[in-house]
């Protein structure tokens, strides 16, 4: 038998670490486990070291370069300790052992707390390049604005420091960096990294110079980096059109003859990354590069659709104006469809749009339906209703969307679709229109349809009912809670909750006495309605019902927040079911009531990670100075989820200086 097979299994070794009792033996056992070969055991040892080993001890392990495995474990544990380890890490910055200073900088960067910034700044000028570089990277990750002037000074220095400074400036995002970074493009060895940082900065003032570079650059990788930066800058620019128009004029003069073929290649390409494609599309649209517009429209017409491309035209509604007629008459159906989906239309466009309802291609006709609806012209209602009755499926769906955009008076056209003899599918479509918008039409007929034999019809009718005001609609929705189909019941419940209102709450409360399977959903609905009047009934029901309903009652009461909620939740903490204790702790946390502080402090030491997690959240919401010490313990919790929650809570507390 080989020796490895005699060792306890990974799961058993982890369990043994977890079970280490408090006392002298715990620390050495944890530190020894940092050297384990099995990653899962090592990970557990790191968590435990973060929780139970003091930063000073870990700091010594980092300084010991004879044991690399333990050093790595100690570094990881210090990082997990987060704010708790800051004073120790800061003291390591001044040590003679430069490796230690470098590790400390890296850990500080990953912890991301800005408190030690002042201690890091002097290291930018450290004679050891590795330390200086780590300091630059750390200040970048800490997004330290104080470091910007010094970093700008490094832009012309040693190449590695230069690269680190460029990256840090991009991360910090201070506009003072824009000019100096632009100067590095296009003719320097660091042009590409500078462009990456400019992309992160996304400053409006960089648009003009970046576009100017686009015209002269020919090298593919640099073009890609430029285009990506331009794409992001355009996206965040309040008015990119004037700068883009100047680019178009340049191109018209015959400058930049490589740019159009390049953009064409990107827009056609399947190889191009999504970001590059979007950047090329944005530039095409904003600069109005007519020759390339069809390529962008192809993307929109794609059955997979490119919602970003549609959004692009919505932000620049005039981009298509000049070429719209030509595009709508294009021989390529994808271009016709794309133009219909992308452009904005008004009453003047009606003749063209109506013509396109006769297009040979159904996807084009469908797009025309939507466009007609967007004009808001009542006169198009009969045409859309006709498509709804006899179009292909894609046209019918688009006609629903189009009709829903028209003024209320136009909805009269739906009458034949709702009439008793109409095909069920057509009636359902008509009801869909009425379910998308408030209206007062066909009330009697819709209420009647809500009692149909077909489940699909009843569901569609209920959605239309929910858009009608008044008590008859209420009654119909309430009655549907007893529908024979469960999905219809749940639909009705959801519609009622969305309608809201005191009367709904009263009706639903009354249903609590029926002990059927709908009650679980009714309890949840009352919570969503924040039905104060139901609180008493819910509490009275609590002792009588099963565990799944009890949990929902506690959740619902937390949403409703009746006056004596705290007392009710405290009682739940005494119950044996862990899930109840978790929810109750969450509820107590959300009260953010200083009176609950002592209880939260106890819960912060609970054996259940979930209870500790909610306690951490609660301490953060309280935001009192007294919350800091327990959070500094929770931030080192063995359960990373808890540690993260505590970290967020700590970040929200007013900061305190680190003692030097």
């Amino acid at each position: 038998m080989s020796p490895t097979s005699e060792r306890p299994s990974v799961a058993i070794r982890i369990a043994a670490l977890d079970a280490l009792p408090e006392g002298e033996e715990r620390q050495p056992a944890i530190l020894a486990a940092l050297e384990e070969a099995a990653p899962a055991v090592r990970e557990r040892a790191i968590r435990l070291a973060a929780r139970y080993v003091e930063p000073a001890v870990l700091g010594e392990l980092v300084a010991d370069d004879t044991n690399a495995a333990r050093r790595n474990g100690a570094i990881a544990a210090l990082e997990r300790q987060g704010p708790y380890a800051l004073p120790q890490l800061q003291s390591m910055l001044g040590l003679e052992n430069l490796d230690v200073a470098m590790f400390a900088l890296q850990v500080l960067a990953r912890i991301g707390d800005p408190a030690p910034t002042a201690a890091i700044l002097p290291l930018l000028r450290h004679p050891n390049l590795n330390v200086a570089q780590s300091a630059i990277e750390a200040l970048g990750q800490l997004r330290s604005r104080e470091a910007v002037p010094a970093l700008l000074g490094l832009l012309r220095g040693e190449l590695w420091l230069q690269l680190a400074a460029i990256d840090a400036l991009g991360a910090i995002g201070d506009p003072r960096a824009v000019g100096p970074l632009v100067e590095l493009v296009p003719d320097s060895v660091v042009a590409e990294p500078a462009l990456e940082s400019l992309q992160r900065l996304a400053a409006p003032e960089s648009l003009e110079p970046l576009l100017a570079c686009l015209v002269i650059v020919r090298e593919r990788s640099l073009l890609d980096a430029l285009l990506l930066a331009v794409g992001v800058v355009i996206d965040l620019h309040p008015d990119p059109a004037p700068a883009a128009a100047r680019l178009r004029d340049e191109l018209a003069l015959g400058h930049g003859d490589a740019l159009l073929p390049y953009l064409e290649q990107v827009l056609n390409g399947t190889a191009a990354s999504g970001d590059l494609l979007r950047a090329a599309a944005a530039l095409t649209v904003v600069a109005g590069l007519e020759a390339l517009l069809p390529l962008v429209l192809h993307r929109i017409a794609d059955p997979e659709g490119a919602p970003w491309a549609e959004a692009l035209f919505r932000r620049h509604p005039d981009a298509l104006r000049g070429s719209l007629d030509r595009l709508l008459g294009d021989a390529d159906a994808r271009i016709r469809r794309g133009a219909l989906l992308a452009a904005g239309f008004g009453p003047d466009d009606l003749p063209t749009l109506v013509n396109l309802l006769g297009d040979p291609e159904a996807p084009v006709r469908a797009a025309a339906c939507r466009a007609l609806g967007s004009t808001g012209a009542e006169a198009v209602a009969p045409l859309l209703a006709e498509r709804l009755r006899s179009g292909e499926p894609i046209e019918r769906a688009a006609a629903v969307q189009g009709l829903a955009l028209l003024p209320p008076a136009a909805l009269g056209e739906l009458e034949p679709c709702l009439a008793p003899g109409a095909a069920e599918e057509v009636t359902i479509r008509a009801l869909e229109v009425l379910g998308l918008r408030p209206h007062a039409a066909f009330e009697a007929r819709i209420l009647e349809l809500a009692g149909s034999r077909s489940t699909a019809l009843r569901r569609a009718a209920l959605r239309a009912v929910a858009q009608i005001g008044g008590s008859r609609a209420d009654v119909t929705l309430v009655r549907a809670l007893a529908d024979r189909s469960r999905p219809v019941q749940l639909e009705a419940l959801e519609l009622l909750v969305r309608r809201g209102g005191e009367r709904t709450a009263v009706t639903l409360s009354a249903l609590l006495s029926a002990g059927d399977s709908l009650r679980y959903h009714v309890i949840r609905a009352l919570g969503h309605l924040r039905a104060e009047g139901a609180a008493g009934k819910l509490r009275a029901l609590y002792p009588e019902c099963g565990p799944h309903e009890r949990l929902e009652i506690v959740s619902a009461l937390i949403r409703i927040a009746p006056r004596d909620l705290a007392e009710f939740l405290r009682a739940r903490l005494e119950e044996p079911e862990a899930e109840l204790r978790r929810i109750a702790t969450g509820g107590l946390a959300e009260l953010a009531d200083p009176a609950q502080l002592p209880l939260l402090l106890t819960l912060a030491e609970d054996a259940d990670w979930n209870v500790r997690n909610e306690a951490a959240r609660g301490l953060g919401l309280l935001g009192l100075p007294a919350c800091r010490p327990p959070l500094l313990t929770l931030v080192r919790d063995v359960e990373p989820v808890v540690a993260r929650t505590a970290r967020k809570a700590l970040d929200a507390l007013p900061s305190v200086a680190i003692p030097a």
Partner: protein, 277 residues
């Protein structure tokens, strides 16, 4: 990032790991999220903690756990995946058993067989090795957690993707093509029995000390430590003395306490239970 909170993710994924062994990290969490969204909508639940509570406490929770399995498993598989294993079976494992197999069938378990490509590949290998002609019979138990895949395995009807490692000749010999799909010929289905099973809760589905070989490939990579150990323990019990365990290429028992010992056959490492206790 995900719209759900870290704590509710942990609750749900811990539950899944506890019941099915499967673990979820960052990327797999995103996939899981997109698969769960529609389910949450259907149940009218808004958050993962709602769903977690439903699974654990609602009277329909157990049924919902069953529904969950197709959403959480990766069922990727194809014919002759890691083909050297089938070679090892026919050329190394079976010859040693020749005398025993005169009086009893060869017994194989294909654990986590997904849609059946693996156990059927075993039959094809056995047929091609001439075992049927030599009078050897076999019984192949093939199980999976995902009921949809087990049903598909029983049908034996495959898309081209499942045949990606088959050349034209293999396609013609083993399958009947119709309408772009491939139906496995009857002859290559001999002796396979499919059933649904959760390897973490086997409930006596597998005999004690009965299998000559167990194939369990590309499932344990998705497993957490405890579940991994548990399943290996199950296999160790279910193997006959001297029986073999074949794992996927990124799965290994090195650095684990187990009575199964590595054996190298040149083309790969497999694990073997000692001949006698």
């Amino acid at each position: 990032m995900t719209r759900f909170q870290a704590a509710e993710w942990k609750l749900l994924t811990d539950l899944i790991q506890d019941r099915f062994g499967l673990t979820f990290d960052g990327v797999r969490c995103e996939i899981l999220e997109s698969r769960l969204e529609p389910r949450l909508r259907e149940l009218h639940l808004g958050s993962l903690s709602d769903y977690y509570r439903f699974l654990r406490f609602h009277p329909e929770g157990d049924a919902e756990l069953g529904r969950l399995t197709p959403l959480i498993t990766n069922n990727e598989t194809y014919f002759f995946r890691e083909a050297h294993h089938f070679d090892i079976l026919v050329r190394r494992i079976v010859p040693d058993l020749r005398s025993a197999l005169r009086t009893r069938p060869l017994r194989i378990l294909s654990a986590a067989c997904s849609s059946g490509e693996e156990p059927y590949s075993i039959v094809i290998a056995l047929q091609n090795g001439g075992l049927e002609l030599a009078g050897v019979r076999w019984e192949i138990d093939a199980c999976d957690l995902n009921p949809e895949r087990v049903a598909q395995a029983r049908r034996g009807l495959y898309d081209a993707g499942s045949l990606r490692a088959c050349d034209g000749e293999a396609r013609r010999r083993y399958f009947r093509e119709s309408g772009g799909r491939f139906e496995l010929r009857e002859r290559y289905r001999t002796g396979v029995r499919f059933f649904e099973a959760n390897l973490l809760a086997p409930n006596g589905s597998f005999g004690w000390g009965s299998y000559d070989a167990i194939f369990c490939r590309n499932m344990l990579i998705y497993f957490g430590e405890e579940a991994f150990d548990g399943v290996i323990g199950l296999f160790a019990r279910s193997l006959a003395p001297g029986g073999y365990l074949l794992l996927g290429h990124s799965e290994s028992l090195l650095d684990r306490a187990t009575e199964l010992l590595p054996v190298s056959f040149g083309t790969g490492v497999v694990y073997r239970k000692r001949l006698s206790d």
